[in-house]
């Protein structure tokens, strides 16, 4: 986790998002520095997933700003958003692999859409390299339904990384996995971050994952950033709202 911290890649200011009468995010602020892993911690329903969906532009906030590489996401039209999204990777909690496509096609799909003139040999090379990174080259022609939960997560991670994003948003990357596979995924996240020099926001409930991956931990409580610090700082806190996560 020797990150190069020179510049903010994500700056969120006074973010408000609600559904009907229920306010989920209520003036949330966050800054993510280049090369750092920020873990967002919070109870179920606290708005963690809503937050990263606002960052990627899947949800429109009610007010506030989200600057990714100094460009305000909420103010963008669809084409500008597509452009901005090429720098942002998103790992879904459910993996969201296209189940009618083979693993090869799953990885080729974003490549062929983004780089229209890319040659077939180059596509094959990038797909193989992405799968090699997650030790799953042998699954190239398999269908997602033939893989285990941990393998699916690794393929999803490979697909997320294939466009070489500069920022990656992880939505509960270890949820539903056994401790050994969770540890493998955490190591992969760190390995790929080191290799590609990416910055990340990781949503997690899994305290082992938080401990192993976080440079900065942010506690999301009642729609706001309740506290921000390193894992060790938060672990030593006597505040009951913080302690409950570490007990």
């Amino acid at each position: 986790m020797e990150a190069v911290k020179s510049k903010s890649v994500i700056v969120i200011k006074d973010l408000v998002k609600g559904f009907g009468d229920k306010v989920i995010l209520d003036g949330f602020n966050l800054t993510v520095e280049k090369g750092s892993n920020v873990v967002i911690l919070g109870k179920s329903g606290s708005g963690k997933s809503v937050l990263i969906k606002c960052i990627i532009g899947l949800l429109a906030p009610d007010s506030g700003s989200i600057h990714v590489f100094e460009e305000n996401i909420p103010g963008m039209n669809e084409d500008e958003l597509d452009q901005a999204r090429s720098k942002i990777g998103f790992l879904f909690q459910s993996n969201a692999l296209y189940d009618s496509m083979t693993i090869r096609e799953n990885l080729e799909f974003p490549l062929l859409r983004h780089w229209v003139d890319i040659k077939k040999e180059e596509v094959d090379r990038l797909v193989s390299e992405a799968l090699e990174n997650v030790d799953l080259l042998h699954t190239l022609d398999m269908m997602p339904s033939e893989l285990s939960g941990g393998m699916l997560k690794r393929v999803a991670l490979a697909r997320t990384m294939i466009l070489r994003p500069e920022v990656i948003l992880y939505d509960e990357p270890t949820t539903g996995l056994d401790p050994v596979t969770s540890r493998e995924i955490e190591n992969l996240i760190l390995k790929l971050q080191k290799k590609n020099h990416t910055s990340s926001i990781i949503i997690s409930h899994d305290m082992n994952c938080v401990k192993n991956t976080a440079d900065v931990v942010v506690l999301l409580l009642e729609g706001k950033c309740y506290i921000q610090g390193t894992y060790q700082e938060l672990e030593q806190s006597t505040d009951q709202n913080i302690k409950q996560f570490f007990e």
Partner: protein
């Protein structure tokens, strides 16, 4: 009060479907075109539906002939059986029954497929990868249903007429040449063209409704089932409404 709420919900749903349909022309028809996916969908939607359409069309032609014969015999106009069956199949029964079978098979399949993609976040995954899911998933499917249903209807009509020919030959002997000569002599341009044109609209309705229901599927497997089911129900109702309008328009144009 409940009536007002239901009416408001109906208007909301109608507005949403209209907006969704509008996007087909504003987003779906702009380059870059997804030609490969369109061909893939034409194969899935058209070619793979052909056996079912062919079977039902054959049975429909046969049964219709067997049911009509007693009435025509009673009035002493049994010789008009090919004419009656031909007109009924080409003008009305062929297009409508084929469209209903199509709605059952394809409408439900599109609703369930896109619904399942929605609840497993595959549609969101496309969006975050910079792929326009409306263009890739919706526009291709709607175009495929619009183009394939008229073709299936023409093929279905032909098979249905063959079934009718066999039906005629159960009780009497008519050569295939004579049967089809009588059928085609009774048909003209104004019988065939409006019937084929309305199937373009039937196909469009089946595609749009299936995609709309799938795209707006609520969370969970139950939501996928509801999407598939409501896609079939709504597109079937729309087929009858479009048919009614088509009859009125052809009458107004003096084509009846």
């Amino acid at each position: 009060m409940a009536l007002i709420v239901s009416f408001k919900k109906f208007l909301d749903e109608t507005g949403n479907i209209a907006r969704f349909t509008g996007r087909f022309f504003s987003v779906g028809m702009k380059p870059r075109y997804e030609n490969r996916e369109l061909l893939n969908q034409c194969y899935n939607i058209g070619y793979l539906s052909f056996p079912l359409v062919a079977l039902t069309a054959f049975i429909m032609g046969l049964v219709l002939t067997m049911q009509l014969r007693p009435s025509l015999v009673e009035y002493g106009v049994e010789s008009q059986l090919p004419v009656m069956v031909g007109l009924a199949i080409v003008r009305e029964i062929g297009p409508v029954i084929t469209a209903l079978i199509f709605a059952g098979k394809i409408g439900s399949s599109i609703g369930a497929e896109l619904g399942s993609m929605k609840v497993t976040e595959q549609i969101d995954a496309m969006t975050v990868s910079g792929i326009k899911p409306y263009k890739y998933l919706v526009a291709t499917r709607v175009l495929a249903t619009t183009l394939m249903l008229p073709m299936l209807t023409i093929l279905g009509d032909g098979i249905s007429l063959f079934g009718a020919y066999l039906g005629v030959n159960i009780r009497s002997v008519t050569s295939i040449d004579l049967f089809f000569l009588q059928v085609f002599k009774s048909l003209d341009f104004s019988d065939v063209l409006p019937a084929i044109i309305k199937t373009l609209f039937f196909g469009f309705a089946v595609g749009i409704v299936g995609c709309y229901k799938g795209f707006n599927s609520s969370k969970g497997t139950q939501g996928v089932g509801v999407s598939a089911n409501s896609a079939v129900v709504l597109s079937s109702v729309l087929i009858f409404i479009i048919d009614l309008l088509a009859v009125q328009i052809t009458e107004l144009l003096g084509l009846n």
